[in-house]
């Protein structure tokens, strides 16, 4: 749909709906914290940001003829390689996959003892990986500064001439 639609409003709304559906998928796959974040950030904030961008720029995409063969070939090549890569992976939901055997269960058993928080994801995020989360806030701060600097009146090309 996002390929053929010309009205960007519809494209952006569909992208928000996609985020919401993916949040539901995260719930199904037991990642409730991720689902919260995706619903708030993906379906909420990012849709609002895109709508604001659309309001400041254009609403309708221009008709353009672009070659379709080369992108298709690239995408198919990448797809074949990725699917070849999954052939060695364990089955979906398997108990004996390498991802499940080592660290995951350790964290499940020590988080409550160390911190007294029943939500293991929050415990790891705030405590074991506190510095990582601090770095993440620095990234968000940097991005915010970048947005402000970009949008606050630096003189453009048109003004110079």
């Amino acid at each position: 749909m996002a390929l053929t639609l010309k009205h960007l409003f519809a494209v952006i709304m569909l992208s928000g709906a996609f985020s919401l559906v993916s949040a539901m998928l995260f719930v199904v796959m037991d990642a409730v914290d991720v689902a919260f974040t995706e619903a708030a950030v993906g379906a909420g904030v990012s849709t609002v940001l895109m709508l604001a961008t659309m309001a400041l720029t254009v609403r309708v995409q221009k008709e353009t003829k672009r070659p379709i063969l080369f992108p298709l070939v690239v995408v198919c090549l990448v797809g074949v390689l990725l699917i070849y890569g999954t052939l060695d992976m364990p089955n979906f939901g398997a108990f004996d996959s390498p991802a499940q055997l080592h660290l995951g269960s350790t964290y499940l058993s020590i988080t409550y003892k160390d911190m007294g928080i029943p939500n293991v994801v929050t415990g790891i995020l705030a405590s074991y990986r506190g510095y990582d989360t601090l770095g993440e806030t620095v990234v968000v701060l940097t991005a915010g500064l970048g947005v402000i600097l970009l949008l606050s009146g630096l003189k453009g090309r048109k003004d110079k001439e």
Partner: protein, 141 residues
């Protein structure tokens, strides 16, 4: 035959996420409109998140929030919390990059009066030719 079917069934989720990812990649590569490119990047990103979360999923498992705080919780199956933590960080970083990209689009539109990649490239080429001509004239005189 049965093991083959089991293999396909067990890998189908991964393949679906990969196909979703490829559709995002296709939008990024094939569409000229910059806002559509950002939407494609978002789809790409979200499907990578799905892939990561699917690795942490355990059959019959539940969300990694401890049900019984006193016991050792060995009776309950919890899905792996580590991918969830990783992806939480990634989602927030993703929205930061998206915001920056959108700000860049607004700036590009101010400069070029267009958000179509083809138009912008044409204008750039015209500018370059003008610039080169000016340089040649200056060096000759």
């Amino acid at each position: 035959m049965d093991s083959n079917l089991n293999f396909i069934y067990g890998h189908l989720p991964y393949w679906l996420f990969i196909i979703l990812m490829l559709s995002g990649l296709f939008i990024v590569v094939s569409r000229g409109n910059l806002i559509k490119k950002i939407v494609g990047l978002n789809i790409f990103q979200t499907s990578v998140f799905m892939f990561y979360i699917s690795i942490g999923k355990m059959k019959g498992g539940t969300a990694p929030i401890l049900l019984d705080k006193s016991a050792d919780n060995s009776a309950v199956i919890y899905s792996n919390p580590l991918p969830h933590v990783l992806i939480l960080t990634a989602i927030v970083v993703g929205i930061a990059t998206t915001a920056l990209g959108l700000a860049l689009i607004i700036k590009i539109r101010e400069e070029y009066d267009s958000v179509e990649e083809d138009d912008i490239q044409k204008m750039d080429q015209k500018d370059l030719m003008k610039y080169n001509k000016k340089n040649v004239l200056e060096t000759n005189s």
